[in-house]
Amino acid sequence: MNRGKLLKAIGLLAALLLIPLLMDNRYNQHIINMIMIYIILGMSLNLCFGYTGLLSLGHAAFFGLGAYASALASTKLGFPFLSCFCLAGIAGLFFGIMIGLPTLRLSGPYFAMATIGFNKIVEMVLLNWDEVTGGPAGVTNIGGVNFFGFPLDSEYRYYYLLLVVTIILYILYRNLINSHFGKTILALRDNAIAAQAMGVNTTFLRIAIFSLSTLLAGLAGSLYAHMVGYVAPDAFPVMESITLLILVVVGGPGFKNGPLYGAIIIVLAGEYLQVLESYNMLIYGGALMFLLVAMPSGIAGLIEAGRFRYYNKRSPGSYLREVGIEEIR
C-alpha cells in the first residue's frame, strides 16, 4: 500500500469514526446503522450473484434465520453476544449448504426457484411455529451487547460495533475476491464449461461460495436482531430478498464496492419512499427492470467507466472488456 492510499484510508476511517458525534438525532443514526447492515448483506449477495452468477431469490431467509438464531440463543439460552453472533453464522452456513447441495449441481433456474421456495417455507415456519419462534409477534427483549463490561446500549455506541465488524468483513471479502478463489469464481460465472475443462470443481465451488454468502447473511441477521431488540417474521419476506437483489444491481454486480453504493441508496430509498405506500413495490419492480436494461453494471460500473474516461487512455468499453466485465453487461 503506497502512502497516498494509506492517507486516504486513514482519512476515511476518521470520518467514519466521527459520524456519531455529528449526528443530531437517533433516527438518523439508526439509518446509518441500517446502511452498515445492508452493506454486509450486499457483500453477501454480491459474492453469490455478482461474482458467481447464482441468482438467489431467498437471501432474506438466511438473514432471518441468522436473526432468529441469535435472538433465540440470547433470550432462551442466555448466551452472550459473541456466541449468538457465531451461532447465527453457523445457522446461515448450515442452511446454505442444505439448500446448495441438491440445487447447485445444476446451473440455471433450479437454484433460483429453490431459494424462493425456501424463503416462502422459512416465512411460514417462523409465522406458525409458535412455541419456538413466538409466531407473528416474534422474539422480543433481545439483550443488548456488552463489550467487556461496556454496554453498547444506544444507536451511537452500537454504530462502533457495526463499523468494526463491517470493516473486518469488508477486508476479508476484498481479499477473497482478489485471491485465486475469487478469480476462479469469475471464471465459473463467465463460462462454467470452460472453467470445468480447466479443472475447476464447479459444484463444490458453487456450494462453497453460496454457503459462505449465507454465512455472511446470518451474521448480518445477528447484528440486526441485537440492534433493534426484537425480530418478527414480517421483516424477512421474499420481497426483502428482491430488495437485496436490487441493492446489488444498483450498486453494480461483480464490482467489489458495489454493495457500498447500493446499500446507501436502498436504505435511503426505503426510508423516503414510505410515503408512497402501495406504489412502493411497483416502483421497485419497475426500477429493477429499468436498471437491468439501462444500467446493468450499476453505480460502480459508471464510476469505473468514468474514471477510465478521465484517464482516457482507451475507450471505457475496451477497458471493461479487458477486465472481464463486458460479459456481465
Binding site: M113, A114, Y279, L282, M289, P296
Partner: protein, 293 residues
C-alpha cells in the same frame, strides 16, 4: 379409504392437473424456444383469472368471449414485457434475464393489487354446480368441464404447432434459430409469438381455475412454483413432458392431501422439485443432455 374414494381422488387430481399442465406447457414453450425460464408465468396466470373477473363478472360478457378476450389481453401483456424487458437482455448474462422475469412478476402482482385490490374474489360457477354420482364416485361437473376445456385447448395448440405452416415455422425457430432465419422465418415475430403463446396458455388456465378458487394477487408465486415443478417433473422443455408432469403433480398433490395432510399441499411442489433435482434432473421423459460450449 375404499376404492371409490381413491378413484375420486384420481379424477379430481386429473382435473387440477390439467390446469398445472397448461402452466407447465407455457414454461416449456419459452425454455424450448429461447432457453428462458419465465418466472412471471404464475402471475400471468393470475392476470388471466382477473381478466375473467373483469370481462365475465363485472362487464357481463358471455364466458366464451371472456376466455378469448382475457387470453388475448394477457398474451399482449406477455409480448409487451418480452419487447421491453427481455429483448434488450438477450446478449447479457442469463442471470440478468432470469432476474428481469422476476421483476415482471413483481410489477404484475403489484399492478393487480392496485387495480383490483388485495381482497379475494369469489367467482360463480359457470357450467353447473351439480355433482355427478357414478356408483359412489362423486365428481363435480364443473371440474369435468374445466379439465375437458383445458385438454381441448392443449390439443388445439399442439395441432397448431404440428400442422400449420406458421406453427412449423415457430418450431423451426425453436430448434435452430440460424437455419430458421435462412429459411425465411421472422425470428422477431417468432420470439413474440413464443412469449405471447406462453402467456396466453397460462391465462387460459387462470380463467378456467377462477370458478374453483379464491382469486387473490398472491396466488402467482405458488402457481409459478407448481407449474415449474410440473415442467421439471416431465422434463423441462418437452411439450409432452409438461403435460404428463402437470397431471402427475395434480394426482400426487391430491394423494398427499388425502393421506398425509393438507398443510403440506403447497410445500409439495418445492419438495418434489428438490427430489427430482437429486434423483433425475432431466425429468421423466427427457434424456440427460450434455451442454456444449
Amino acid at each position: 379409504m375404499d376404492f371409490s374414494q381413491l378413484i375420486q381422488l384420481l379424477i379430481s387430481g386429473i382435473a387440477i392437473g390439467a390446469i398445472y399442465s397448461l402452466i407447465a406447457l407455457s414454461f416449456s414453450l419459452t425454455v424450448r424456444a429461447l432457453n428462458v425460464i419465465h418466472f412471471a408465468q404464475g402471475d400471468l396466470f393470475m392476470l388471466g383469472a382477473y381478466g375473467a373477473i373483469t370481462f365475465y363478472l363485472l362487464w357481463g360478457f358471455p364466458f366464451w368471449l371472456a376466455i378469448i378476450l382475457s387470453t388475448a389481453c394477457v398474451a399482449l401483456v406477455g409480448i409487451g414485457f418480452e419487447r421491453i424487458a427481455y429483448r434488450p437482455l438477450w446478449k447479457s448474462h442469463h442471470v440478468f434475464l432470469l432476474m428481469s422475469t422476476q421483476a415482471t412478476a413483481i410489477v404484475l402482482q403489484n399492478s393487480v393489487m392496485l387495480i383490483w385490490g388485495t381482497d379475494a374474489w369469489r367467482f360463480p360457477k359457470i357450467f353447473s354446480d351439480k355433482v355427478l354420482d357414478l356408483a359412489g364416485i362423486r365428481v363435480p361437473v364443473e371440474m369435468i368441464w374445466i379439465s375437458m376445456l383445458a385438454i381441448f385447448i392443449m390439443i388445439i395448440f399442439n395441432a397448431f404447432l404440428k400442422n400449420t405452416c406458421l406453427g412449423k415455422g415457430f418450431r423451426a425457430a425453436a430448434q435452430d434459430r440460424e437455419t430458421a432465419l435462412l429459411m425465411g422465418v421472422n425470428l422477431s415475430i417468432a420470439d413474440s409469438f413464443t412469449f405471447g403463446a406462453s402467456a396466453g396458455l397460462g391465462a387460459v388456465g387462470g380463467v378456467l381455475i377462477a370458478p374453483v378458487l379464491f382469486v387473490t394477487p398472491y396466488i402467482g408465486l405458488i402457481f409459478t412454483a407448481k407449474g415449474f415443478a410440473a415442467a421439471v417433473l416431465g422434463g423441462l422443455g418437452s411439450i409432452r413432458g409438461a403435460i404428463v408432469g402437470g397431471f402427475l403433480l395434480g394426482i400426487l398433490e391430491n394423494l398427499v392431501t388425502a393421506f398425509i395432510s393438507s398443510v403440506y399441499k403447497d410445500a409439495l411442489a418445492f419438495l418434489l422439485l428438490i427430489l427430482i433435482l437429486i434423483v433425475k434432473p432431466s425429468g421423466l421423459l427427457l434424456k440427460p443432455t450434455v451442454s456444449k460450449v
